[in-house]
Structure formats: C-alpha cells, structure tokens
Amino acid sequence: MTAAPVGGTRHAHEAKGLGGGRVGLLGAVVIGVSTIAPAYTLTGALGPTASAVGDHLPAIFIVGFVPMLLVALGYRALNNAMPDAGTTFTWGSRAFGPWIGWMGGWGLLAATILVLSNLAGIAVDFFYLMLSQATGNAGIADLAANVPVNVAMCLVFMALACWVSYRGLEATKAVQYVLVGFQFLVLGWFAVAAFTRVADGSAPAGLSIDPGWFNPLGVGSFSAFAAGISLSVFIYWGWDVVLTMNEETQGERTTPGRAALSTIAVIVVLYLTIALAVLSFSGTGDGELGMGNADIQENIFAALAGPVMGPFAILMSLCVLASSAASLQSTFISPARTMLAMGHYGALPPQYARVSRRFQSPGYATVVAAVVASAFYAVMRVVSVNVLSDTITALGMMVCFYYGVTALACVWYFRGSWGGNATAFLTTCLAPLVGGLLLLVFFVQTAVDSMDPSYGSGSEIGGVGLVFILGVGVLGLGLVVMAVQYARRPGFFRGESLVVGRSTTDA
C-alpha cells in the first residue's frame, strides 16, 4: 500500500476478525463448501466433464484435485506474505512485473465474468423449472428455451444481484449454514434416490460401480484428460478460501489445517458420491437421460431431478436456485474488488477505484461487472446453442490460466528464500511449480483442441470453435485493453505503484 500518513488523522486501527464471533472448524468447513456452491457447480459441470472423459468421471474428480491443491499452497504462501486486495494481479506484478501481473488480473476478471453469466443462466433455467413444478404446468419450464424471455429474466437476476452487492449486503453466517445444509440434504437425497432406483432396476442405465471408473489412465486421450482436469479445476474453484482464513479461525495453530483437510474431505466425498450416483443411474450414453445427451449435459440436475426424485424434484430446483442466486451475488464481489485494486494501483482508470461512501462497496466496478456480464450473456445466448456448457469449458481454461500464473508467481517471488528449509521449499517452490505447470499445460492443450469448430457443444464463429474464442479470444482482448491502458496511463507499467521484488516489509 502506498498510503502516506494523512495529516489530522490520529491512527488507523486494524481490527481483523469479528469481535466475539470467530470461526470454528465447522464454520470454516461451511465457508469452504459455500464458496464452491456444490449444487450449482455439479449441475453445470458434471455433464461437460462426462462428455470429455466418459465414465472416468470419478477418477478425474480425484486427480483434478491434485493440481488445485498444489496451487492453493502457493496461493496461501503469497497471501501470507502480501495480503492484498489485488491477489493474482498484485502478486503477478510483484513477481514478474506489471505486464504479466496485469494479464493475470485480466484472467481472473474474465473467469469471474464467465462464471457470472453461467450462474445467471443456470438460475434462469431452474427458476422456470421450479415455477413449472410448483404449478404443475410443464409449459413454463420451456420458457427457459425462449431466448428473449431467457435473456430478460437473466438481466433481472443480474440487476438484483448487482444491487445487493452495490449496497454492500453480504450473506450472514446463519444464511450460509442454511444454504450449505440444504444443499447437503438435497444432494444426499438425490444420491440415495438414484442408488435406490439403480438397485430396484428402475434406472435408465442401472450400472453397478466399476473399479475402472476410478482409473485416470483409462481416459482415451490427453486432450480428453486435459479438458476433464480444466473442468474439475472449475468445480473445485473456491475451496482454497479456507487456506487463507488463518487469522480468523479459532485456535490458530491447528484449526486452519484441520479446516482445510476437513473441507477437502467433505467436498471430494460429496462430488464422488454424486458422480457415482449419476453415472450409475444415467450412464454416459446419449439416450434421453444419458450424460452423453448434449441436450441435458449443460444443466444435468434439471433433467435428472424429476426421474430420480419424483415429486420431490422441486427441492432440487429450490436448492440449485438458492445456491446459484447466493453465488451470483457473492461472485459480483470478486471482479469488483479486483477492479478496485487495479484502479487503486493505476492499472485501470481511476474511476474503478471509486468506493461508494454510503455502502463502502466498489460501486463503479460492481456496475461495470454487471453490465459486462449481462452483455456477454445476452450475446452468447444468441450466438451459441449450448451457451452454458461452452462458458463452463472456457471458464475452466481461464481458471487454469490465472491459477497457473499465480502459482508460478509464487515460485518466482520466493526464489532464493528456501535456504535449506524443506517446508518452505515444498510449499513455495515444488508444489506451486508442479501445480502451476500442470494447469498451464492443460490450458494450452485445451486452447489448441478448442480451435476445432466441433469442440465442446460444436458452436463456432468463422470456422473456429466458440470455446477457443471465449478462452483465448478474451485473453487476446486483454492484451488490447492492456495496450490501451499503457498508452493512456503508463505509470503503472513503469512500476510506479507496484514494485517488482521482495520488499523488506514482507514477512
């Protein structure tokens, strides 16, 4: 921070934490699970992942966790050394200089804009599905397929979520406990119902669990493997918040570690259970309820909840709607804060650093995020038949990119500080190096594959796959915006606000 002491101001207090309400083990797990929004994530990502790796879904869910964990260790090390609003942007700039730092920040922004549009799309689907289930009128669910109606509703959701974020309103502890509890209840119910139907022979596929599903080497090609890992990086995206909560947890010595391990265990078990349940129930064929059916892939619970849960399917609609609505609101905070930090350091125009005095929220940046995400969704809805699965695939790529940059920034930033300390070497060099390289390899592989117009849902623009345009095109756009920024405000790029290298104030 470049803040100079301000005349007349006596002192600034730094009081972290919540007074009496510090976070215990259960609270930390709830926070970790709430940030990955399992009901939303699974309904959006199960189908695309299955279409990439077939019945090796469980294997990918286990293997995909590894690079995420390795990178998260680096993320935590950077967060401890340089706690900063800009995260990837700031750390990238401090390690590699302003250009790479700027692009890392852009990758984070692009990922959040993609996830916002996907979240809103899922929320719209389930909104109409729930209305149709509640009224018994099947026609209402089909409204989601009507492009103008769909886009209009999506804009309403976006505007609402933007307004809530602008006002600085955030979910409370009680709300998070209820949301997470409800998701567990409904997803558990779904899994039990699916296995019951497999057992009594009423499931369309009715497969018994095959050990081969757990073999990652069984995935047909490296392309499929890379695509699967990119997607699983997306589904695990967010849990690492428990690693950076050190200061807020009770019993600071043991709780953060145990909270992280517990969260990992809970999430992996939950994801595996649902993956196995869906796989056994539906199989990967392209039948009406098969996971290979492109029509149901992009929002799998919308298609399966009815056949699996019967009249209680409306609970699944409520569950995903609540999960995606809560995430929609909390996801606005991420790009807004990143833009705030970038504006603060002069990497974006100064209005991005504007804070609403009344609500203490990054007002301008929040509105920009909403406008861009809404416009993006509206365009995509018109261009792509399967907008949800294409955005999810591109999103996985984008997360691989910016997490990869973050991990390598960690290695480069801490280089030369290992000096025989095995733990430091492991957490700030080996783990993030391997994790970061893996993510960047998967990013490149998916980028190359996605140039094929038949990639993903098969949407294309000018003979180039839509996923490529979303993933690589958006990064290319970032280069252009960065060049414009350099031309107009070169200060940041000359290192005037963020200096490369380790400063003496870093612990």
Partner: protein
C-alpha cells in the same frame, strides 16, 4: 488515557461516513461543539470482511484500500469543521459501524456519540446505525435531524413521564442545564383523545417531580410545558420548540444495565420532534451518566 481527562473538555464521537447522514452529524456536531464547549472525535468506521460472506472466487481483502479512501473523507470532515473547533479524526476498522463507534467512544472516554438519524425510506424512522446504537450504547446518543442547523444550541428540553425513572432523566438534564447555564424546559407529552381527555393530575405530578429534583440540585432556570394532542405528532407539535433546542430523552426501563434503549413512546417522539434528541442510558445506580464528563 482519554483526552477528556487531560484537557478537561468533554469529547463527542461523531459518526461520519462521508455521506448525507455523516454530513448531518458533522454540521450539528460543530454547533454542539461551539455551544457546549466540547471536543469532537470524527470517526469513520470501515467495515471489515465477514468470513461468512462467501466471496466466490476468493479474492483479497479490500479493507485497506477503502480505509485509505476513508482517511480522505475524514480529512474533508476536519477541513469543513474549520479551526474553531477542537476536532480530531480517526479511521478504524470494525465488524459493523455501530461496533466501531462504540469502541471509539470507550477508547476516548467520550461523553456522547453523535449520529445522523435521518431514516430515509426506513419505516422505523431512524437509520440502521442510529438504531443499533440506541440498542447498545453505554453513553448518550445524540440523534440529529436533516435540518438547517441553528447558530447555537441555547435551550434544553427534557421529556418526562410520570413513571419511575423520570426523576433520573430529569436530574441528568438539570445538571446539564446547570453546567451550561441554558434554560431547561420540562415537557410532558401525552396522547389524549375525545373520550379520555387529559389526566388532570398529570400536571400536578410533573410539577411535584420538578420540585423534588429542584430541592436536591443546583440552581437552573426551569419551566414546565404540557404537550397534548390526539397523536404523539400533535402532542409534539403543541410545544413551541426553540430553534436552538436540544431534547433529552430517557431510555426505556427495558434497557439492560447501563445502556440506551428506546421505548415505543420515545421512538414516536423521536420521529416528530424538530430538534436533535439526546437519548441517555438508563442508569440503575442513579448516577447521572452525563456527570461523568
């Protein structure tokens, strides 16, 4: 530790957020500072991150960036107060604005917290911060309206009923009047309708109360005024409020220990009265809270 003891001048914490309510608090605080010879601590509270907010994906804490801007707001506030007022500014981080204000009040040994009370569209009549303070503050809370400020505060009012506790509030206001030399108006606000009419004994009981306090208090200029109307708004409107008035209200008897808590009648009075209102904490020991400063 507090400046109050080193300079002997009581200090008020002023809730400033850089917005409209903060400016209300600032304008009125300047008047109070000039009229009552108090020092001001302009406090900007930056809300810290709630780990349960579930930001997705996780990003950094922006509290530092916001605090830096808040220091700019605090400087504007000091500049607008001018050199004639003994004022300092403080930017602090807390879980909620009210929490930060109360921490600041405890730390500085403040005699009161001044907050803009304009409720906007809020049906409860006062803003969230003011309402939270009213439910938790161990020191008097000064609620200021969104109105033109007078040159000085030159009349004290105290609203008393005839229930137990009225004597303590009256005694407190009395001491304030004696200390400042301002005239004290004891007002009794009662809703009357066509059926019940005014309770003929009420006037007598209030006068008896005044006499009782007079007998054990310092001298002060005191008069008694009766506000009557079909509604609280009418009862309040029947009093001829001086432009430089300041109304002292007691906390509800429901307030736990030494805390403020607004009773239902007091809340209605608050909505209609045209002058700033000081809500003093209930004090079980009988020691007037204001005398500490």
């Amino acid at each position: 530790m507090s400046a109050a003891t080193t300079t002997g001048r009581p200090r008020y914490v002023v809730a400033y957020d850089g917005g409209d309510r903060g400016r209300d608090a600032l304008r009125w605080s300047a008047v109070l500072a000039r009229s009552l010879d108090v020092g001001l601590d302009v406090v900007v509270v930056v809300r810290s991150d709630d780990p349960f907010s579930g930001v997705y994906p996780p990003v950094g804490d922006v509290t530092g960036v916001i605090a830096e801007q808040a220091r700019g707001w605090a400087d504007e506030a000091l500049a607008s107060l001018g050199a004639g007022v003994d004022a300092r500014a403080d930017v602090r981080t807390a879980g909620s604005v009210a929490e930060g204000l109360l921490d600041a009040a405890t730390e500085t040994g403040a005699a009161a917290v001044v907050v803009g009370a304009d409720g906007g569209v809020n049906p409860l009549g006062v803003g969230t911060v003011a309402r939270t303070l009213l439910h938790a503050s161990p020191v008097p809370v000064v609620l200021v309206p969104r109105r033109e400020t007078p040159e000085r505060v030159d009349h004290l009012y105290v609203a008393v009923g005839t229930r137990p506790g009225a004597a303590a509030v009256l005694a407190e206001a009395w001491q304030a009047a004696a200390r400042t030399g301002l005239p004290l108006h004891v007002v009794n606000l009662v809703e009357v309708d066509e059926n019940s009419g005014a309770d003929p004994d009420a006037v007598g009981r209030v006068r008896a109360l005044v006499e009782e306090v007079r007998s054990r208090s310092a001298t002060a200029r005191v008069d008694v005024e009766m506000g009557r109307g079909r509604t609280v708004a009418e009862a309040v409107g029947s009093i001829d409020w001086a432009a430089g008035g300041l109304l002292v209200l007691g906390s509800s008897r429901l307030a736990p220990g030494r805390q403020t808590f607004l009773g239902p009648t007091a809340a209605r009075i608050l909505r209609h009265v045209p002058v700033p209102v000081v809500v003093v904490p209930r004090d079980p020991a009988g020691e007037p809270a204001g005398s500490r400063s």
